[in-house]
């Protein structure tokens, strides 16, 4: 027992001698990670406990978090963010799965074509896309949504001009955009599913839907988990769409989100401590949701 520690030290030293050089390869990336990600996160945590302004700040404990809990605008931003994330993530994953499933049976050329087709819009500037959606959901009759609905005798609706409909318009703008990244990932994952399971199902006379429901969807759980985590984090970070479509928070703060509020609190109101506290809340939310998703969707199946 007394010799265990020196033996561990010796083996560690031996491992360092043998593999230490390999850490050099990791060093550049790790350094960038530390400087541009880890340190800002730590600094954000520190700032969240201060009444920091541009001139500096003092330690105030959890006072910023108490302020947030009592601030109706933050509570509204929190609610809007959660609602947006819930609806949009569910819709985008479903949509990506359906579209990937529809193009899966097609030939290789068609496959490549559709993957590219759905992925290409992602290279567009998010600002430009948001400006297009702003025009689509314009309250005036010449907005595209109102023009289209007018053909079937509906509307015109106020959309982004109304506090009741503005968040719906923002959510619709996200839901109606086919998530190209999800389609590509699902499509790639589907291509690597074991064929013998489908052959066995065919022998059993399973329908297309049964095979999709009982083989495809369960085997795609690792991809679904990945998309769920990524899309949730992206949805929590909603900013430019709201900023462009509704001039920030929209009528009566109807579309205000946490990141929008962080931006205005830090850069317009100069309250860096309070803004950092909001960022910490957002971080905890994203971490919590990711942990829950990992636990509930963890799959032991490897293929």
């Amino acid at each position: 027992m007394a010799t265990a520690a020196p033996r561990r030290r010796r083996s560690l030293a031996a491992a360092l001698r043998r593999y230490g050089w390999s850490y050099l390869f990791v060093l550049p990336t790790f350094s960038l990670f530390v400087v541009f990600t880890l340190l800002p996160v730590v600094q954000g945590l520190v700032l969240s406990l201060q009444n920091a302004r541009v001139t500096g700040g003092e330690f105030i404990g959890l006072a910023n978090f108490e302020t947030l809990a009592a601030d109706p605008v933050f509570v509204q931003a929190l609610g809007n963010t959660i609602l947006y994330a819930t609806v949009v993530v569910a819709a985008q994953i479903t949509l990506a799965l359906i579209v990937a499933s529809l193009i899966q049976p097609l030939g290789t050329r068609a496959h490549v074509f559709y993957r590219a087709l759905f992925y290409l819009p992602l290279v567009n500037s998010a600002i430009l896309v948001a400006m297009v959606w702003r025009w689509i959901f314009n309250a005036n009759p010449f907005g595209l949504a109102n023009t289209a609905l007018g053909v079937i005798g509906l509307g015109p609706f106020l959309w982004i001009g109304s506090s009741d409909q503005a968040l719906i318009a923002v959510i619709l703008s996200a839901v109606l955009t086919i998530p190209g990244g999800g389609v590509v990932l699902y499509s790639a994952a589907m291509g690597s599913l074991p064929r013998e399971l489908y052959e066995a199902a065919d022998l059993d006379g399973a329908s297309w839907f049964s095979k999709w429901r009982h083989i495809t969807v369960p085997l795609l759980r690792p991809t679904t988990l990945y998309l769920l985590v990524i899309y949730t984090i992206l949805a929590f970070q909603l900013f430019e769409r709201v900023y462009i479509m509704t001039n920030g928070g929209g009528p009566n703060n109807a579309t205000i989100t946490i990141v929008q509020l962080i931006y205005s609190t830090a850069f317009q109101f100069g309250r860096y401590g309070l803004a950092s506290a909001m960022a910490v809340v957002l971080f905890v939310m994203a971490l919590g949701v990711a942990l829950v998703q990992f636990r509930s969707l963890r799959s032991d199946v490897e293929y």
Partner: protein, 450 residues
């Protein structure tokens, strides 16, 4: 002979040491400047370089801020040839504001003289970063009192008022004619006359095109002032924008929404959108600041007095009111006395009566400034350029300039605008909406007064 002129190493070092002692004991260049003597025998002014930070300045571009700033520096060079001025810019917006904050508040460095607005003046003053102007009594009475008040921090004027930017009504005379509405005589109308005109001016043409009587951008609260309501009391310590006068002003505004004389998306119309609607002939009356005069002038289809004019805010229970913003030229506190003195002299020039005529003399003449001056002696030049501007130049007398409160943008954006929206959408009564936000606004006002 040769021995006499030779300097050995020891003597050389001795002489260098002597020079060193003299230099060390002598006056330093920065601590007490000693003017050099010119060929004529009179002391030549010492050369000084200062930095002027100006929002929306971008060297080589044709923005109004760039053209007028370059022209101002050129004109000042003729008056003070020893002063070299470098201009730094940055687009309007939060990023440039932050650049100013970091330089002035954190680094205690950056501009020697700068253009600033709103609550920033008080923020910098509170941090002890502004060098106070020394104004004579004559200068004090020359400045617009509300502009001077807006730049007063704890009883002291901390910057030079530059200009007042009034908001008023632009009217499309063609649409007035089409709807059979007589434009307000002399630009004056009561709220009732304004509402009646806006209703008549809201109509659909035979081709289906909808015209709206009135529009404004989503950054306004002017109607809350017309019955005499004001955001704060005279001491700027108590929030009063839920007073009976403010509530009745908001009720008048709500009435416009209820009568549907504004475009349905009026709550999300940003300033550019609202101007575009007027320029497209979709809106008959538009509430915007004086800068839009230049936009209309630049468009050949708009002829002042023929198809557009300006009018005052509608008058209600309160006195004739306009509302506006105010711009300042501030000098940063610093230890370099020469730079500070040069910065003050330049700031006085920028806000004084000489710059306008100086710029007018340039080839081509440069219009100075972009908004009516903050002092009487400099007011004329703005009005000289355009008959619309001549009308606007008279508005300073009744323009309400929001007193500077460092937390105003937070009060406005986070609480006041949503409350206003809720009332305009009919979700809350004006009184309910304004009463609800009063505690938060008061809290932020208290914080600003600490």
């Amino acid at each position: 002979m040769g021995r006499d002129v030779l300097i050995n190493r020891r003597r050389f070092l001795q002489s260098m040491a002597a020079v060193g002692v003299v230099v060390a004991c002598g006056p330093t260049a920065t601590a007490s400047p000693s003017p050099s003597v010119s060929a004529s025998g009179s002391p030549a002014p010492k050369a000084v370089s200062i930095e002027w930070w100006r929002r929306n300045y971008a060297q080589g571009t044709q923005s109004a801020e760039t053209i007028t700033s370059d022209a101002a520096v050129k004109a000042y060079k003729d008056r003070a040839s020893n002063v070299t001025i470098a201009i730094q810019g940055g687009p309007f917006g939060a990023e440039t504001d932050q650049k100013f904050d970091i330089a002035i508040l954190q680094a205690h460095n950056g501009p020697d003289v700068f253009h600033t607005t709103g609550g920033d003046v008080l923020k910098y003053a509170a941090a002890g970063q502004l060098s106070q102007p020394t104004l004579t009594d004559a200068e004090r009475t020359d400045f617009n009192p509300s502009a001077l008040k807006a730049t007063t921090y704890k009883g002291t004027v901390v910057a030079y008022p530059l200009w007042i930017v009034p908001w008023f009504e632009y009217i499309n005379l063609d649409l007035f004619k089409e709807a059979g509405v007589t434009p307000p005589t002399g630009g004056n109308w009561t709220y009732e006359e304004f509402l009646a005109a806006a209703k008549k001016l809201t109509f659909k043409r035979a081709d289906g095109k909808q015209i709206y009587g009135f529009a404004h951008a989503n950054d306004e609260f002017a109607f809350m002032l017309i019955d005499g309501g004001r955001p704060y009391d005279s001491t700027i310590k108590t929030w009063t924008f839920n007073s009976a006068d403010a509530v009745s002003g908001l009720e008048k505004w709500v009435s416009l929404a209820q009568q549907k004389v504004m475009p349905p998306d009026f709550l999300t119309l940003n300033p550019n959108d609202s101007q575009a609607r007027f320029l497209a002939g979709d809106v008959a009356i538009l509430q915007r600041p004086s800068a839009m005069i230049n936009i209309l002038n630049a468009d050949a289809k708009w002829k002042f007095g023929t198809n557009w004019d300006i009018a005052n805010f509608p008058k209600a229970k309160g006195d004739q009111t306009a509302w506006g913003g105010v711009g300042f030229i501030a000098v940063r506190e610093q230890s370099d006395a020469d730079k500070k003195a040069a910065a003050h002299a330049f700031a006085k020039y920028l806000t004084g009566p000489d710059i306008g005529p100086d710029l007018k003399k340039q080839t081509p003449p440069v219009e100075y400034w972009l908004a009516p001056a903050g002092r009487k002696s400099a007011a004329g030049i703005y009005g000289d350029y355009h008959p619309a501007k001549a009308k606007v130049a008279t508005m300073g007398a009744f323009t309400y300039v929001l007193p500077n409160v460092s937390t105003w943008s937070e009060i406005d954006q986070k609480y006041l605008r949503p409350a206003r929206d809720a009332a305009l959408e009919g979700k809350k009564t004006p009184k309910q909406a304004l009463d609800e936000v009063a505690p938060q606004a008061q809290k932020l006002l208290d914080e600003a007064n600490k």
